[in-house]
Every structure is written in structure tokens, then in C-alpha cells.
């Protein structure tokens, strides 16, 4: 699962590397190469494949963004039974979760945010053609607060638009799940946009703030992960409403309420209850908790009783080694001792 995706990333990088080395600057041949590569990437929807072919430079960034989303998802759920893994069809964005659960909601939101974040960052670093710093913010002076726009303000609007075009392009079927996925994608991007921050440098004489330059910058992606995790905890169950006799679902409404109230744009929404994720189940995409690390003494979600669903756990002993008592010596190196300790870890049966 996780390792397979990394192999895919390696494969793409290797292909691009070989492409650049062997084919050089012949643009028509490069386009042909991109075409071949785009066709080999598993799980791309037709419109995504078209974007891949027209913007081969962006596909690597998209892959990195999707991977960042998956990594963050695995971090946020590292102590839960569900740890952002799933059985099922492999795609660029990891395996798709079959159940329209709140876990699926989180996965879609974090992945869309990850792609937007990575594209915006790549623009700021000058790693993508057709985009760069936010030009609107160059050189203008903020009279009231006494600082000046400068540097490279991250153009998050470009990143979000790109994420919307690419990630949303995989939603083809006209069903309730599509509306759910589109909503959650947008929620992830909205959380990212809301958390853009102002960063400033004081560059007056002797570091004083008599001269100050500011720019907008992306939040750390962990912050986005934390916020979406909170929204996951407060996720809203919805159902579709058909506004006409045509059987296409047209919008989502909150299920518990009698009115036709819609979810807020940053709410995560789900249409089905979650499985318990205890056992491997291909029908729901659950991987199960067998072999998972757990904490023997914890009463929480990471505790062995909860994590292992009452099946019990195995004990493994090992020696933990780390550097300790580090000191800096002039000039210039750091010297450390090595400490070790016999300890044990527990895994679910």
C-alpha cells in the first residue's frame, strides 16, 4: 500500500530522468514521452490524464502533494484503528475507500489540500512554469500598519484552482458519493486558504523594525492536518436531495435535521457510518488492526485493549539506541555519547 505508492513515485521520477537524459530538448518527442508516462499512471480519470499530458511538469508536484496528504493523514490517525490505510483499487491518491464514511471524508479533504499546498509551494520556488509569486502583492505599501509588501507572496489561489481542476476531475459518476467527495475536496482547500499567514522581516539598521517587509506564506501542512482532524471529529452526516424528477442528486442536506439545511463549506461530510476497522474486510476496504503497534498501558484509542479489539497482543523486545549528552566544541563539532536501553513494543494479535 504505502510502499507501492513510493515505488510508483520512484518509477515516475526515473522515467522523467531517463526522458530528460535521452531525449533532450526535442519538444515533440518530449510531448510523446509525457503521453506515454501519463497513460501508465494508474487510476487517472480521462480529464486528469489530459491535464497530465498538457502539464507534465506539474504531475510530479501533484504526486508529491498527494503523498504529503497521505503522510499527514497517517500521522493524524497513527493512534487509531484506522490509520489511513485501505484495501481496494489503487490510484494516484492512494486506495479509494469504498464506504462513504468520515474517514473517506478526511482522506479526500487532506489530499486536495496537499495538492494545493504543493502546487503553491512549487510556484513560489519557481519550480513550475506559468506561475510564480503573487504579483498583486508586489511593492504595495500598507499605510496603516507601516510595512511594505515584498518578497514572494505565495499565490495560493493558483494552487487551489489547479487542485480543483485536477483532483475534482476524478469525480465522474453522478451520484451521492460524487457530491460528498467534491464537498470534502473543497473543504480541504478552504481550510488551507483560511490559514494563509502574513510573515514579516525587519530589515532596518541593526535589525530594527524601522523598515519592514511582509509577504503571505503557506501554513505548515501539519497545521492543516490538525484542523481537518478537528473537522473530522465534528463531521456531519448528510444525504442527497433530488430537486426534480430527474434522478440526479443535486445537493446535500444535513441528515439529522428536518429542514433542508446545507452543511457549511468547511464541514467534512459523510453519507455512511464507519465500519469498526477491527478486521480485514474487502467489502468495506478495512485493513484490520492485526500487527499494529499499540500501547499496553494506555486507556485511549492507541491502547492495546481498544486497538486490538479484544483479541490480545504480542510482545517484542529490542534494544533502543540513541545519541545523548551532546555538546558543541569550538570550533566546530558536536560530540555525543551513545545511550541504549532494553525495551519492548506490543503488536495486536
Amino acid at each position: 500500500m504505502h510502499r507501492n505508492f513510493r515505488k510508483w513515485i520512484f518509477y515516475v521520477f526515473l522515467c522523467f530522468g531517463v526522458l530528460y537524459v535521452k531525449l533532450g530538448a526535442l519538444s515533440s518527442v518530449v510531448a510523446l514521452g509525457a503521453n506515454i508516462i501519463c497513460n501508465k499512471i494508474p487510476g487517472l480519470a480521462p480529464r486528469q490524464r489530459a491535464i497530465c499530458q498538457s502539464r507534465p511538469d506539474a504531475i510530479i508536484v501533484i504526486g508529491e502533494g498527494a503523498q504529503m496528504g497521505i503522510d499527514e493523514c497517517q500521522h493524524q490517525f497513527r493512534f487509531g484503528r484506522w490509520n489511513c490505510s485501505a484495501l481496494g483499487e489503487k490510484t494516484v491518491f492512494g486506495q479509494e475507500l469504498r464506504v462513504g464514511s468520515r474517514e473517506a471524508a478526511f482522506t479526500y479533504a487532506i489530499t486536495a489540500a496537499g495538492v494545493a499546498h504543493a502546487v503553491t509551494a512549487a510556484c513560489s520556488q519557481g519550480n513550475l512554469s506559468n506561475c510564480g509569486c503573487d504579483r498583486e502583492k508586489q511593492g504595495y505599501y500598507n499605510q496603516a500598519e507601516g510595512w511594505k509588501w515584498g518578497g514572494c507572496s505565495a499565490d495560493v489561489r493558483y494552487g487551489i484552482d489547479f487542485s480543483r481542476r485536477f483532483v475534482d476531475a476524478r469525480e465522474i459518476k453522478k451520484n451521492a458519493r460524487r457530491l460528498m467527495n467534491l464537498h470534502n475536496n473543497e473543504a480541504g482547500r478552504k481550510v488551507l486558504e483560511d490559514r494563509m499567514k502574513l510573515e514579516c522581516k525587519c530589515h532596518g539598521v541593526s535589525g530594527s523594525c524601522t523598515t519592514k517587509t511582509c509577504w503571505t506564506t503557506l501554513p505548515k501542512f501539519r497545521e492543516v492536518g490538525h484542523l481537518l482532524k478537528e473537522k473530522y471529529n465534528a463531521a456531519v452526516q448528510v444525504e442527497v436531495v433530488r430537486a426534480s424528477r430527474l434522478r440526479q442528486p443535486t445537493f446535500l442536506r444535513i441528515k439529522q435535521l428536518r429542514s433542508y439545511q446545507k452543511p457549511m463549506e468547511t464541514d467534512l461530510v459523510y453519507i455512511e457510518k464507519s465500519p469498526n476497522y477491527c478486521e480485514e474486510d474487502a467489502a468495506t476496504g478495512s485493513v484490520g488492526t492485526q500487527g499494529r503497534l499499540c500501547n499496553r498501558t494506555s486507556p485511549g484509542a492507541d491502547g492495546c485493549d481498544t486497538m486490538c479489539c479484544g483479541r490480545g497482543y504480542n510482545t517484542h523486545q529490542y534494544t533502543k539506541v540513541w545519541q545523548c549528552n551532546c555538546k558543541f566544541h569550538w570550533c566546530c563539532f558536536v560530540k555525543c555519547n551513545t545511550c541504549s536501553e532494553r525495551t519492548e513494543v506490543f503488536t495486536c494479535k
Binding site: H2, R3, R6, K7, I9, F10, F13, L14, F16, G17, V18, Y20, V21, G24, A25, I60, A121, S124, Q125, G126, N127, G132, C133, G150, G151, C152, E199, K201, C202, H203, V205, S206, G207, S208, C209, T211, T213, W215, T217, L218, K220, F221, Y318, K320, V321, W322, Q323, C324, N325, C326, K327, F328, W330, C331, C332, F333, V334, C336, V345
Partner: protein
């Protein structure tokens, strides 16, 4: 900042970068489930600011980074620990600290400043010790105040480590050799007559004038200097209207000696900066065409360009 679109060539460079990325990902992917991190991995890497800033690289300390080129090591990490991202930015910001270095207010000043402006190349960032920061601040801020400066936010001592892994030249328990308590010369008057030092002062000052002095008075604890004739070399914040009625202040300098002012019949090179509505004197030299160093300064001044912040953003 200095982040812009790089003209990335096709071919070797691109594939090298891509293959390096691929190798890095492969290495990460092959980590075992029980691969527990050691101390070296525990500390976050150099990305203290924006996560997507340029990756840190080890570069030579250039000769014209005057603050740090003789600090005791030859290579530094860029971006540095003050989030200066280009060498131009480092030089621009460091240039205003060189005059303070020349004041010799604390023996650890250079080590402290350079641990941040030009951090030593190690596999993780090493910050200066908090006690070193506090010692330098306590000794040097009184001198800085003569020039209207206070200890800046970016050097606040609270953020530096108290633990073992921190930079200090001397062991913490060594008693500082106290300086001889002689008469304290006014810091703006205590200057080395060397062309390089004068150039550095010129860059660190907001304005520079050639002028004659009509009189010197005491006023509210300052020395008030009333000019007679003035010729601007660098106007900075002074408007031409204000130039006529210009009055300079030697901050907190009512009672400290300033030998340059003993004889007012000379022309003077005066450098300073504006703090609120006062023009403070930051350096004074006798305008002595016969002096070899001063003549050298005049020659160099014509061609020398001070680093400006605007150039950093181009």
C-alpha cells in the same frame, strides 16, 4: 527572500535533481517498521521558517562579509538562522553590526552574532547559548543606545538554548576578564581611523555630511552640535529644507569626552541617523586630507556601493 523562477536547464541538471529525489524517496521507503530515530533525527532540520524555503547549503564565508570572515571557521549555512535567504541579504543586514563589533563591548560579540548570521556548517542548526546572548546584550546594548538602537527582536535571548548543545567560545563558568575602568569615550567619537572602518560606518549610517561646527552645547543630557557649513555626502532621511536648520545630537553624551570636538576649527566628516525627530551623530572624523587613511577613504567612497535591501529582492 530572493525566491524566483530558476532558469532550469534540461538534461543533466534536471535528471540529476530528479534522480536524487527518487533516491531519497527510495531510501525513505525502505525504512523498516522498527527504525527508531536517534538524536540526530530528533531535532528538526534547518527549516525553521517557511517549510518550502530553499534547502540549506554550505557556502564559503565571503571576504566581504566583514562581520564574520575572520570568526574562526570558513564555511556557513545559507539560509542562515535569521532566515536571510541570499548572501546579498546576509551582507546587507550584517553590515550594520560591524560598527558595533569595532566597539569591543564584549569579547563574545562576534561569535554570538556570527552563530546566527553565518552559522557553522553542521548536520543540524546550533544556536548560541542563552548566557552568551545575555552577556553580549548586557554589555553592548548600552553602547547601542548611544546610537539610538535597542536590542532587536530578532536577537531576543529567550529563544536561545540553555542546554549543552549551543555555541559559546568560552566555557560558561569562566569569569569574564573585566575591562579597565578608564574614562569612557563617547562611542561615536571612539573610532579607528581606517578607511575600511569608515566605509562600514558610512554604510551603516543613514546620512553623512562634511561640515564645520559653530558650537557645542549641553542639552538634556546630550551634546548638541550646531553646524556652520554643511555639504551632504549622503542625505538619507534629511530633506533639503531641513538641511539648513539641521542640529545634531550626541545621545547621552553630555559628559563623555570627544576629542574630535576639542578643536572646532576643522572640517569634519559627520555620520548619523534620524531617530524620531532627532538627528543623532553615529561617527565623527576630522576631515584630514593629509591623513593617508582618510585620503584612501575619500577615494574608495566614490566607487563603493553599500548593500541595499531592495537589491536583495530583485
Amino acid at each position: 527572500m530572493g525566491v524566483g523562477r530558476s532558469a532550469r536547464g534540461r538534461g543533466g541538471a534536471a535528471s540529476g535533481v530528479l534522480l536524487a529525489l527518487a533516491a531519497a524517496l527510495l531510501a525513505a521507503g525502505s525504512a523498516s517498521e522498527y527504525d527508531y530515530v536517534s538524536f540526530q533525527s530528533d531535532i528538526g532540520s534547518y527549516q525553521s521558517g517557511r517549510f518550502y524555503t530553499k534547502p540549506p547549503q554550505c557556502v564559503d564565508i565571503p571576504v566581504d562579509l566583514r562581520l564574520c570572515h575572520n570568526v574562526g571557521y570558513k564555511k556557513m549555512v545559507l539560509p542562515n538562522l535569521l532566515e536571510h535567504e541570499t548572501m546579498a541579504e546576509v551582507k546587507q543586514q550584517a553590515s550594520s553590526w560591524v560598527p558595533l563589533l569595532n566597539k569591543n563591548c564584549h569579547m563574545g560579540t562576534q561569535v554570538f552574532l556570527c552563530s546566527l548570521f553565518a552559522p557553522v556548517c553542521l548536520d543540524r542548526p546550533i544556536y548560541p547559548c542563552r548566557w552568551l546572548c545575555e552577556a553580549v546584550r548586557d554589555s553592548c546594548e548600552p553602547v547601542m543606545q548611544f546610537f539610538g538602537f535597542y536590542w532587536p527582536e530578532m536577537l531576543k535571548c529567550d529563544k536561545f538554548p540553555e542546554g549543552d548543545v549551543c555555541i559559546a567560545m568560552t566555557p560558561p563558568n569562566t569569569t569574564e576578564a573585566s575591562k579597565p575602568q578608564g574614562t569612557t569615550v563617547c562611542p561615536p567619537c571612539d573610532n579607528e581611523l581606517k578607511s575600511e572602518a569608515i566605509i562600514e560606518h558610512l554604510c551603516a549610517s543613514e546620512f553623512a555630511l562634511r561640515m564645520k561646527i559653530k558650537e557645542v552645547k549641553k542639552e538634556n543630557g546630550d551634546k548638541k552640535i550646531v553646524p556652520k557649513k554643511k555639504k551632504p555626502l549622503k542625505l538619507g532621511p534629511i530633506k533639503k529644507k531641513e538641511l539648513k536648520r539641521l542640529v545634531l545630537f550626541l545621545k547621552n553624551g553630555a559628559d563623555c569626552p570627544c576629542h574630535q570636538l576639542d578643536n572646532l576649527s576643522h572640517n569634519f566628516l559627520i555620520m548619523g541617523r534620524k531617530v524620531k525627530s532627532q538627528y543623532l551623530l553615529t561617527a565623527i572624523h576630522k576631515w584630514d586630507k593629509k591623513n593617508k587613511e582618510f585620503k584612501n577613504f575619500m577615494k574608495r567612497m566614490k566607487n563603493h556601493e553599500c548593500p541595499t535591501f531592495q537589491s536583495v529582492f530583485k
